[in-house]
């Protein structure tokens, strides 16, 4: 689980974010982004991938799933025998690789984003419950969290995939169900520290509702750690989805997944290298973009970095 390292450092980030909102808003964020080269690159990559996914239907030059056996195994356009019709060539069934990569963004982002949203919601609820009610609720929930951390989540995922029919929905649910642990820990520790602060005790004493305390004091404090964990989770989830699809356990045809495209290409490595190469590049660039953006977010949202960047010793 990658969230742990972050979880430690992101305790009190909320304040800095709120300050940002108050003083700068959109312009200030743009300025901060522009200052970081990798952040800018990451942002551009992520934005492009999202736009491609949204407008995939308009962008595809060919039908991504229809077989076209007369044009099968066409090389990319710059090679002998390649044509401008198939910029990145075609696969063993004559399907346009570029079109399939464009459509593949949808699966990657759908699984990546929604599983992380699901994990975030579960983590939030579990963390709130554990931190808020304490005692045996906390003990039991944290034991479960520890157990999830003790063994690789891929094992749970595989058991689920052995039982249920794999589909985009199954993947979202199962990855969401195994990834909530890092969120739960952050929320719990934040709740515990907020509970100890005087102003929260004070608001209890005047009878403020639990939900109000959660909304006013806890949510603002965890939001930035959520953003940072989520960014990295989306990256790892995209790789995970691709890996599972590559193993034949994930997305099934006719849905198009970058990982599954690699499986097709594997059998043609000796003669048609492009089938396996381009989807891999697509995955790597997308993930790289998300990591860059995530690292940048971590840097700007961390109050320590925030203040040191503003100057002073």
């Amino acid at each position: 689980m990658q969230g742990n390292a972050e979880a430690k450092t992101v305790g009190t980030i909320g304040q800095a974010v709120r300050k940002d909102k108050a003083t700068g808003g959109f312009k200030r964020w743009c300025h901060l982004l522009w200052q970081s080269k990798t952040g800018t690159v990451g942002f551009i990559i992520v934005l492009s991938v999202v736009l491609v996914a949204i407008f995939a239907d308009l962008l595809v030059p060919h039908d991504p799933v229809e077989n076209n056996l007369s044009d099968m195994l066409a090389p990319p356009f710059w090679m002998d025998g390649g044509s401008a019709a198939y910029l990145l060539g075609t696969d063993n069934l004559g399907r346009d690789i570029l079109s399939r990569i464009i459509v593949g963004t949808r699966v990657s982002l759908l699984v990546g984003i929604f599983s992380v949203v699901l994990a975030g919601i579960i983590g939030l609820l579990v963390g709130l419950a554990a931190g808020y009610y304490g005692k045996w609720v906390d003990t039991i929930l944290m034991r479960i969290v520890d157990s999830f951390l003790a063994i690789p989540s891929i094992l749970f995922i595989l058991v689920v995939l052995a039982v249920f029919e794999p589909s985009i929905m199954t993947l979202i649910v199962v990855i969401g169900l195994t990834n909530w642990v890092s969120y739960a820990r952050v929320v719990r520790s934040e709740v515990l520290s907020v509970k100890e602060r005087d102003f929260v005790r004070a608001s209890y004493s005047i009878g403020t509702k639990d939900t109000t305390i959660i909304r006013k004091h806890i949510v603002p404090n965890i939001i930035s750690s959520f953003i940072v964990i989520s960014a990295l989770s989306v990256a790892t989830t995209i790789i995970l989805e691709a890996s599972l699809s590559f193993l034949g356990l994930g997305i099934q045809p006719p849905d198009v997944s970058w990982g599954a495209m690699l499986t097709d290409g594997r059998n043609y490595l000796a003669t048609n290298w492009w089938i396996a190469t381009f989807p891999g590049i697509a995955i790597t660039i997308t993930v790289l973009g998300i990591i860059f953006l995530g690292d940048w977010l971590r840097d700007v949202l961390d109050p320590r970095n925030y203040f040191s960047k503003k100057g002073g010793a």
Partner: protein, 305 residues
């Protein structure tokens, strides 16, 4: 030390309990295995009889206790694909996986330790930038794609290594590099940040003020301290190692437990899936326990009592 060990061993029990529960619930939800076992023209009364014989008509909790009882005895059922007991099937694949895991850890350590230390010493230099960039790239690159690229380069284009299989040391090189690189990417980053932190410690300044040379400073004073987190880091990589092994074994048809598990999942061979999951989980727990013990041996500050 003994007390601690007992405590840690006791902590394994709830973990195993939760895994067994999750697995059982999933299998329970999966529904009726009888349909798969009997011929299609079997009558409803035959099915009923079969269910009763298998204990599937019993209440949920009784079925669960029976399941746990079987687990404790190492009885995971019979693989319908191989038509033999699942556990021995899994266990006989272990050496291959151990071999691959060990080789990749060696590759990862040989790459990550020198690279991490070097880039920490030359912080913000061009080489540091290159190494840090490489480690991010290594993180972003899916394991299986790296494996395929390596096959494309070294087994297809220049035919120096075999495409797949296990046997000689030559077979092991590409899989070990594939799996090792992914782990090295994360390790390098952690070792670098760790080393940077250590090099800023007061005791490093003290050593410098004594006249210690910068090589001894790094390889004796700092490295010994960084070993402690490095062991933890290696322990943390076990999860990566497991998921990486599943994929790498599949890419290279390496006959290990990972390939077996993936094939079993694909073929819905539940007995093998369960056996493999439990064996891997137990191994991971044991490895974590061992790293924890090594950690304690390395750091004199930790109290043994």
């Amino acid at each position: 030390m003994k007390k601690y060990l007992v405590k840690r061993l006791l902590q394994i029990i709830p973990v195993l309990f939760i895994i067994s529960f999750v697995v059982f619930v999933l299998v329970y939800m999966a529904g009726d295995p009888v349909a798969l076992m009997l011929p299609e023209d079997a009558s409803e009364s035959d099915r009923e009889a079969m269910r009763a014989a298998l204990g599937l008509t019993d209440p949920f909790y009784i079925q669960y206790f029976r399941f746990v009882g079987d687990l404790v005895q190492g009885n995971f059922g019979t693989s319908f694909r191989y038509n033999q007991a699942a556990l021995p099937l899994v266990l006989e694949r272990l050496p291959a996986t151990f071999e691959l895991a060990a080789a990749s850890m060696v590759v990862a350590t040989l790459m990550a330790v020198p690279l991490g230390i070097y880039s920490a010493r030359k912080q913000n230099s061009l080489v540091d930038l290159f190494i840090t960039g490489g480690s991010v790239l290594g993180k972003a690159m899916p394991n299986f794609w790296l494996g395929i690229l390596l096959i494309l380069l070294f087994a297809v284009n220049i035919q120096v290594f075999p495409v797949s299989g296990r046997g000689t040391i030559v077979h092991m090189i590409l899989p070990a590099i594939t799996l090792g690189t992914g782990i090295a990417a994360e390790m390098t980053r952690l070792i670098r940040s760790n080393m940077l932190e250590i090099l800023n410690q007061d005791y490093i300044r003290t050593a410098r003020s004594k006249g210690v040379s910068s090589n001894i400073l790094v390889y004796k004073h700092a490295f010994r301290n960084s070993l402690i987190p490095v062991v933890t880091i290696m322990g943390l990589q076990v999860s990566h190692l497991v998921s990486g092994a599943l994929i790498t074994e599949s890419v290279f048809s390496w006959p290990g437990i990972g390939l077996l598990l993936v094939q079993a999942v694909n073929g819905r061979d539940m007995a093998v899936v369960q056996a493999a999951v439990f064996v891997i989980a137990l191994l991971v727990i044991v490895v974590n326990l061992i790293t924890d013990l090594i950690y304690r041996l390395l750091d004199p500050r930790i109290n043994y009592s």
